[in-house]
């Protein structure tokens, strides 16, 4: 087993384990715990990106997702001062139906993947996503979406400022 295979299994296990702990933590129903485990999930996904030779995206994932988005989440959790999610009476039937349906969806995904084998017969991968190559693509083929995304960020900023005014006068 090559070292990259071992690293893949390690990062994949970390990602899935932290994903489970985001959603269904048996020890604490505090949303801060879920946010912390989501940060860990995002960082181990950045590790998976590095294994896929997407170096720029791994860095962007850690900087933007873990460093800005999750920090924003934590700010909001602390602003709202949410305590432990009170344990209301969970409707048992709804919970079981939800679990069965998600098991079915996940099962269909995994089974179809194992049946069609999309990776069979592909040549050895050579695409490397370093910053220069990605930047060249971004500024030539995808120039219009790039500019539109900057406009979208401006609109989002204005919207957030408007939405968070105390009195909408």
């Amino acid at each position: 087993m090559a070292i990259t295979d071992i690293l893949f299994y390690l990062f994949a296990f970390l990602t899935l384990a932290c994903g489970v702990l985001v959603v269904a933590n048996p020890f604490s129903r505090n949303p801060v715990t879920s946010a912390m485990f989501l940060v860990l999930t995002i960082i181990s996904m950045a590790g998976l990106f590095v294994l896929l030779h997407a170096f720029f995206l791994a860095a962007v994932q850690v900087l933007v997702y873990a460093g800005a988005v999750m920090v924003l989440f934590l700010f909001v959790i602390m602003l709202l001062d949410l305590k432990e999610e009170e344990r209301r009476k969970a409707k048992k039937l709804g919970l079981i139906a939800g679990l069965i349906s998600i098991g079915a969806i996940g099962g269909v995904f995994v089974r179809s993947l194992l049946a069609t084998q999309p990776g069979k017969g592909l040549p050895a991968p050579t695409a490397v996503g370093d910053t220069a190559t990605l930047g060249k693509l971004l500024f030539t083929n995808y120039l219009l979406p790039f500019e539109i995304v900057s406009l979208l960020l401006l609109v989002a900023m204005v919207g957030v400022i408007l939405l968070s005014k105390k009195d909408l006068k």
Partner: protein
């Protein structure tokens, strides 16, 4: 066993199912939103895996845009949640049953 495309796609599918489980079963608005982010991340992983194994960098460019748009969406969604909390004083989905302001 050599790690191929299917391994990454199975991880992505399981992560998506986990995010969906979080959206369906958790009743706190913020944890539901975090599970949504988990689903977005699983789509990102699938795209990067396909991009690598098909020798095509367009998947990575799409992930770049997805991360940007997801960041903007999180900002707006959290502003909405904060405004809603200020009005209703509750972040529990079962309390937010009426659309009247």
């Amino acid at each position: 066993m050599n790690v191929g495309l299917e391994h990454y796609l199975i991880v992505s599918a399981l992560l998506f199912a986990l995010g969906l489980l979080g959206v369906i079963t958790r009743r706190n608005l913020l944890v539901m939103y975090m599970s949504l982010e988990l689903m977005l991340n699983s789509a990102n992983l699938a795209l990067v895996a396909f991009s690598r194994f098909n020798d095509n960098l367009n998947g990575q460019v799409m992930v770049f845009f997805i991360i940007t748009v997801a960041a903007a969406e999180v900002a707006v969604g959290l502003a909405l949640i904060v405004a809603l909390y200020r009005k209703r004083q509750s972040a529990h989905v079962e309390d937010l049953t009426s659309m009247k302001l």
